[in-house]
């Protein structure tokens, strides 16, 4: 598995019911493209985050298919509707089979 893969997320702590909020995510990951060669001329094998999803209380917000052209430490920004208080679940899928998950709760005022 890739070393030191750390997700970071920016979600407001609270919103009003039905409000659209901005979410930003970053995950530290080399996103090795599979197109680079090492010092001996051997291709460095591809190793990337290939999919990202964000769900809220079991319903999908966004589902992103990612290719090697996504930069190192993938950054994503998107919008979500918050119908009620609950939990965002963020999931990153690594080529090596690892899955990284983070949760963020949001209150509704």
């Amino acid at each position: 598995m890739a070393d030191n893969v750390t997700p970071r997320i920016r979600v407001p702590r609270e919103a009003s019911a039905g409000e659209t909020i901005t979410i930003k995510t970053l995950i530290s990951h080399p996103m090795e493209s599979g197109q680079r060669k090492d010092g001996d001329g051997n291709v460095i094998p591809r190793s990337i985050i290939n999919r990202f999803t964000c769900d809220f209380n079991g319903q999908n917000v966004i589902d992103v298919t990612m290719e090697p052209a996504i930069s190192t430490n993938p950054f994503l920004e998107f919008q979500a509707v918050v119908p009620e208080a609950g939990t965002f679940v963020f999931t990153w899928y690594d080529d090596d089979g690892d899955i990284y998950t983070e949760e963020k709760e949001i209150a509704v005022s």
Binding site: R10, K24, L26, F75, E77
Partner: protein
Amino acid sequence: GNWGKLAAQQMLSQDDLLDFDTYGNVSLIHVTDIHAQLKPIYFREPEVNLGVGRNKGAVPHITGADFRKAYGIDDGSPSHYALTYNDFSALAQGYGKMGGMDRVSTVVNSIRAARPDALLLDGGDTWHGSYTCYHTEGQDVVNVMNTLKPDAMTFHWEFTLGSGRVRDIVNDLPFAALGQNIFDSEWDEPSEDFAPYKFFERGGVKIAVIGQAFPYMPIANPGWMFPEYSFGIRDQRMQEMVNEVRAAGAELVVCLSHNGFDVDKAMAGRVTGIDVILAGHTHDALPEPVIVGDTIIIASGSNGKFVSRVDLDVRDGKMMGFRHKLIPIFSDVIEPDAEVTAVIDEQRAPFEAELSEVLGRTSDDTTLYRRGNFNGSWDDLICDALIEEREADIAMSPGVRWGPSILPGQDITREDLWNVTSMTYPNAYRTEMTGEFIHTIMEDVADNLFNEDPYYQQGGDMVRVGGMGYRIDINKPIGERVSNLTLLKTGESIDPSKTYVVAGWASVNEGTEGPPIWDVVENYIKREGTVSVAPNTSVDVVGA
């Protein structure tokens, strides 16, 4: 010409230089691109400064006699010497050096005597460009500038001190550090380290000063030195900031910019609601504002050579009129501010022996200068040194616009050499490049200078080349401008598939190896003793 020093300076007096009929209710004082020149210098303005597209033949892209004609400047006059290149060394004998921050202080004080709450705004490229600035990591310039009590500043070369050092200085700065286009590169949000704007109450007028840092920082300079920041023009956000300050009651909106002149003109056409743009970066000095729509654009030169004063009549939230003067800092005529002189001397004292060491001298027919789109004699000298000292076929020197001039028959001190080479990535590399890659570099840099869309222009000059000649058609698109590459030592065409040894300096790549450029050139000058640079005839320019 034979202008005797006395005769020339009898045409000048401090009172005349500072004479200004105070107008309206607000005064702005603009300095920019000082490049750490605390002491008076000679600075020859460019002979070649070509505009393309809609800016062809428009100021600041006219030089020499055309420039004097456009502004009604008499031949041999002080303005001729200050603003154009012709007869430079002869006129310099008469009119003397220009600039010096102690003289600038006198001018600022005199404006403040007439208008105590005048705003002093610094356009950046301030903490870079000298021996003492390098060795104190900008502290010498910071200490001197603080005595002038600026109100706000924006940035470019400052970031090459490294972002940590910039933050250290900014944290202690007794005035505003502005840049609406400085973003946190990680989260793509406005950086918390630099405010987008600051409000001032002056003359009963609510003034907003919005900062615009150099947009192409990580392209033109090493991005690895300031990885936390992202820049860009961000004119949409500029519009948002203008709207925000207007909504908060701003009656006058000033943009303190380091975009470069043509970019500022383009931005003034896209963003509405800016009254005054104080332009920097491209080092143009213009005796009159350029007006785009309802915006006036002021260009105040470089290296401490000029101070702009703009008086404004602001009533009912509108700029009703302005009065402007580009004040040339004739250093033998304007009395230095003794307090500031003392602070300057204090900064220099620990380095005086190194600064003053004479490395060699110029021959009687050689003026060393930098400005010009394709070459300058300083760069020709640097390229000669690179080819000799690094045993290269071809030399490349960056087309930076800073760096004072040296007159014929003048001693060249270590300080003089550092004034044209000082930077934090000085390594003189020696590498092999194919002819094709050399051509690609030339095309790439030419497009950064001659792209018809100003938003693609980065405000430098063409990469200087030694050992190789070429032809350039400035009006062609990228990939088609540069042709007839010729290796001068053999007269043969550059072969795209062949490999050449290239020496250069100021690479933006991390880990570039080689001796610092000042050591390379110092060795060369010391060995030559007297340096002579023949006129450069190896660039054939088409479409000017």
